[in-house]
């Protein structure tokens, strides 16, 4: 579904991502882990088009993405959440989802003028369903900035879903969550897979990554140092070395 070939992104002399090859199969939950600064978030940013590539190529469902701006990639079906939550704080919870309905189906339904001005019944119903799924229905008319941290994370996920993604990039969705919240997040991620959404999960919290993913790639200094099933990754000496330093393996 998503295929990265020799993907490279330099910032000046820093090689944030360096010759990364990655294949995320359709319908999978694919983990991308690595120590701080290993290039995980940069990978998300090049896949969504926020940063141009220094070298390499990215293909999504057989099409190359290299020249598409970010909003066009979303319309192809690639949505994301942010490591540092980026909601529209002064808009209401409901408006945050309304603004995000930019899938080709939604655009076709709105037509040219109504695209800007409309709010059809089916669009409203879908927002209501998303609010239900995220447990935010009672907060629909509150400004997003007034939500608690956990609610903001849930809203950001709902906002990504409002675009009807085929591929969802989750950038550290469990950061700052307690065990109970992580368990809920896990249920949500599995529920999304049931809906046919492929997930690329970038995460530090091993409790979540090891329990939910089918396959994991490990980055260090912008390069892939290991890839395999969760159990293989846990046993891999190179991974232990990257995380713990020295030769603790």
């Amino acid at each position: 579904m998503l295929e990265l070939k020799g993907v490279t992104r330099h910032f000046g002399g820093v090689r944030a991502v360096d010759g990364l090859d990655l294949v995320v199969p359709e319908g999978s939950i694919f983990g991308l882990i690595g120590p701080n600064g290993s290039g995980k978030s940069t990978t998300v940013n090049v896949v969504t088009g926020l940063f141009p590539l220094t070298a390499g190529t990215i293909r999504f469902r057989g099409e190359t993405l290299d020249d598409l701006p970010t909003h066009r990639r979303l319309q192809k079906g690639i949505a994301r959440t942010f490591q540092n939550i980026r909601l529209f704080g002064r808009l209401t919870v409901w408006q945050n989802l309304w603004v995000a309905q930019n899938s080709p189906e939604d655009r076709a339904r709105r037509g040219f003028i109504a695209r800007w001005l409309g709010g059809s019944r089916s669009a409203r119903d879908e927002i209501a369903q998303l609010l239900e799924f995220s447990g935010l229905a009672h907060k629909a008319d509150e400004p997003a900035a007034s939500l608690s941290f956990g609610e903001q994370r849930r809203l950001e996920l709902a906002r990504a879903l409002a675009a009807r993604p085929k591929l969802l990039l989750l950038d550290e969705p469990a950061a700052g969550m307690n065990s109970e919240e992580i368990a809920q997040l896990r249920e949500r991620i599995l529920a999304l897979r049931e809906r046919g959404i492929t997930i690329l999960l970038i995460e530090h919290v091993m409790e979540l990554v090891m329990g939910v993913t089918d396959r994991i790639a490990v980055l260090n200094f912008g390069q892939k140092i290991a890839e395999g099933a969760p159990a293989e990754i846990q046993a891999d000496p190179a991974v232990r070395k990257a995380y713990l330093g020295g030769d603790s393996a």
Binding site: L50, T70, H71, L74, Q75, F82, Q95, N102, L117
Partner: protein
């Protein structure tokens, strides 16, 4: 009584000018180009009524269109710059337009006088209203019909999905792009609508004052255009109207009796207003 009608006309035109900046400010772009679109609307519609003998209504429509076209043309390069750089770029454009009108001569003989823009002398005798026997009250009502129409349109925009998209872009461009918002379309369309509104404001201004010149469209006017929505707050179009009434009605006219002290107090009261109501005069707590 005519003094008050005159003041209400001025408040109407400045409200339109403020609203032209309001929609652009919603997208997070601070622009000093509004005085230029105001000037373009004023000169284009003035020339149409004076030189071509058009009726005010179609002339005003063409003035709005000219403002929109100019704003659209400015909108594309403006996408590449942000923040202070955008302020400087739009300031440069505004000054460029002002200098153009400072040097713009296009006069034709009409009866025994010559009419039309004459460079630094300005563009005199834009006499559509007096020639057609409109009273000050009628002109005032004509201006306010546009003010109300534009306010209603923007009020409706604000409640539409388009309004939410504008505000989303104003809050976080990266997040907006990432949820599929086309930044180019949003920013340029907001700029274009703003240009059209400024064009209408300029057209009305030219005809009610009957005499315009380049200095009516200087950077001070551009500053007022963005100051109204900022002082009034970006929650609602009514904030802009309140700010215009506060600034033009109270600070400028209301304090005229204070003589030289007025300018001092003017600045102090703006500072005080912004301190007491940092989100704007019309700010609702929790909104």
């Amino acid at each position: 009584m005519d003094f008050y009608f005159g003041l209400i006309q001025l408040i109407g035109v400045h409200t339109l000018l403020g609203l032209s900046a309001y929609i652009v400010l919603l997208t997070g772009q601070v622009t000093l180009a509004q005085a230029a679109f105001y000037a373009i609307g004023a000169y284009v519609s003035g020339m149409l009524t004076v030189l071509a003998g058009w009726h005010i209504v179609p002339a005003l429509g063409v003035g709005a269109l000219a403002g929109a076209v100019a704003a659209c043309a400015v909108g594309f390069p403006a996408l590449r710059v942000k923040g202070l750089m955008l302020v400087i770029a739009t300031l440069a454009f505004g000054e460029g337009v002002r200098i153009f009108f400072f040097n713009f001569d296009y006069q034709i003989a009409k009866g025994d006088i010559k009419v039309g823009p004459l460079g630094g002398e300005g563009f005199r005798q834009i006499r559509f209203f007096p020639e057609n026997g409109w009273t000050t009250l009628e002109v005032m009502l004509f201006i306010w019909a546009f003010v109300i129409a534009v306010m209603a349109l923007l009020w409706w925009f604000d409640r539409s999905r388009y309004g939410a998209v504008l505000r989303a872009v104003g809050e976080d461009e990266v997040a907006a792009q990432s949820v599929g918002v086309n930044l180019t379309a949003v920013k340029v369309s907001a700029m274009t609508v703003g240009g059209a509104i400024a064009g209408i404001a300029g057209s009305l201004y030219a005809h009610y004052t009957t005499h315009i010149e380049h200095s009516n469209f200087n950077v001070l006017v551009a500053t007022f255009a963005i100051a109204y929505p900022i002082v009034g707050g970006l929650q609602s179009v009514f904030g802009t109207l309140a700010a215009v009434i506060f600034v033009q009605g109270f600070l400028i006219e209301g304090l005229r009796g204070l003589g030289d002290w007025r300018n001092l107090l003017f600045g102090a009261l703006i500072v005080l207003a912004m301190n007491l109501r940092p989100q704007g005069i019309f700010w609702r707590r929790g909104a």
